[in-house]
């Protein structure tokens, strides 16, 4: 197979484009797709401080690499999830990448900072392990970005991730989630702007880019991910893609071009500061603080109730989250 651009020997085939590329041309093609995503969704400008959520896997390291290579001010943030040797190796990959490029990697450890790790959350909380992991990441990254004065958080979500998420939300008609599935969510009320510059690139492409660029990413899968819903949706879409190349891209890009405007307003909610941590939320306490209270077996409520009337006390009590054991692990 020949490279579409230079007719050299191809190393990666992109079937949805009916094209293949050589080792020299593919990183340029990849970078152009990232540039196109950044421009189209006005993700950030040169000089903006970007916090890249780095897991040590192919997507986040490919994202960090392409942003640094194109001259952006991109700092990495690794969140220690406490998943045994897998987390150790993931951290080492992220740290080695940062050291090789002479760039900064910030590290937040979930257990040190918030008192629990993901295996503990899976055992003691009412959410699935992957759900509480995602919630913890979103919270910790937003907080670190806000505290660090960053303009934007960039995540390595790729085309396959986004298409699978859109499929899941569509199957359930989660119109509020569908409305929010933009590759660029603007900053609002304490939420730092979030962007997904790799959303035009498939998992195969991000892996090929990482390999060609010599990035020593963690190949092993998270040991807790087996049976994950997202994986099932990805497998379903890959089955369709195998006989109809381009279906995933048509589904996602068609949504972004024509579907997303139809759902505008479906996610309109007022954000208020969480009664516990002060981060933005739609209720009295944010989902993170409610989950954390369950995991740690703590009560969540105002520290000082002196000088309040009975109605206020009743309202506070109704908002409290009690330890999961009391509810037998049910969602509160």
């Amino acid at each position: 197979m020949k490279c579409k651009r230079c007719k050299g020997s191809a190393v990666i085939e992109v079937r949805r484009h009916n094209a293949a590329f050589c080792k020299a041309c593919f990183p340029e093609v990849f970078t152009e797709q990232v540039r196109r995503a950044i421009r189209r969704f006005d993700m950030f400008e040169p000089g903006d401080r970007i916090l890249v959520a780095v897991s040590g896997g192919k997507d986040s390291l490919a994202l960090w690499d392409v942003l640094l290579a194109t001259g952006y001010d991109a700092t990495g943030l690794y969140l220690g999830l406490g998943i045994g040797g897998y987390s150790d190796r993931s951290h080492d990959a992220a740290a080695a990448f940062a050291q090789a490029r002479g760039t900064e990697l910030r590290v937040v450890d979930l257990a040190d900072e918030y008192g629990y790790d993901i295996p503990m959350a899976g055992r003691k909380g009412s959410r699935s392990t992957c759900a509480v992991c995602g919630l913890s990441k979103r919270y910790a990254f937003n907080r670190a970005a806000a505290d660090g004065g960053f303009d934007v958080i960039a995540t390595g979500h790729n085309l396959d991730d986004e298409a699978a998420t859109l499929l899941g939300n569509t199957l359930r008609w989660n119109t509020d989630y569908i409305a929010r599935q933009s590759p660029a969510l603007p900053a609002r009320d304490g939420m730092v702007k979030k962007v997904k510059p790799l959303h035009r690139l498939s998992e195969l492409e991000t892996a090929a880019y990482a390999f060609i660029r010599g990035i020593d990413y963690v190949v092993e899968e998270c040991p807790l991910v087996a049976g994950n819903t997202q994986l099932r949706y990805k497998n379903a879409m890959n089955t369709i893609e195998a006989t109809s190349p381009g279906t995933k891209a048509q589904f996602l890009f068609g949504y972004l071009d024509r579907g997303m405007p139809l759902f505008a307003g479906h996610d309109e909610v007022a954000l208020v500061p969480c009664g516990s941590c002060g981060q933005p939320t739609t209720g009295r306490f944010c989902a993170f603080c409610r989950a954390r209270a369950q995991i740690l077996g703590e009560r969540l409520g105002p520290a000082d109730r002196a000088g309040t009337d009975d109605r206020d006390v009743a309202r506070w009590l109704s908002d409290e989250v009690l330890p999961a054991e009391i509810y037998g692990g049910a969602e509160v």
Binding site: K58, L204, V219, L231
Partner: protein, 66 residues
């Protein structure tokens, strides 16, 4: 021909002298879901693989939400 598979890591011996797509088909692997690496370089499914070659078949699908 030696084929190294990942997640979980294991090795299998298969016949070479044919296109990589036939090797992937024998292993029931979708070519769009893996990198195929030979001698430290990526190769497409259309390349032929020799009996003495060693291949790594590396999945690209990850289950996390990013």
């Amino acid at each position: 021909m030696k084929v190294k598979l990942r997640n979980p890591d294991r090795e299998v011996e298969l016949h070479g002298g044919r296109p990589i797509r036939e090797v992937l088909a024998e292993l029931d692997v979708d070519p769009d879901t893996v990198l195929v690496i030979r001698g430290g370089e990526l190769v497409t499914r259309h390349e032929n693989v020799g009996q003495d070659d060693e291949l790594e078949i590396r999945p690209v699908i990850s289950g996390g939400a990013g």
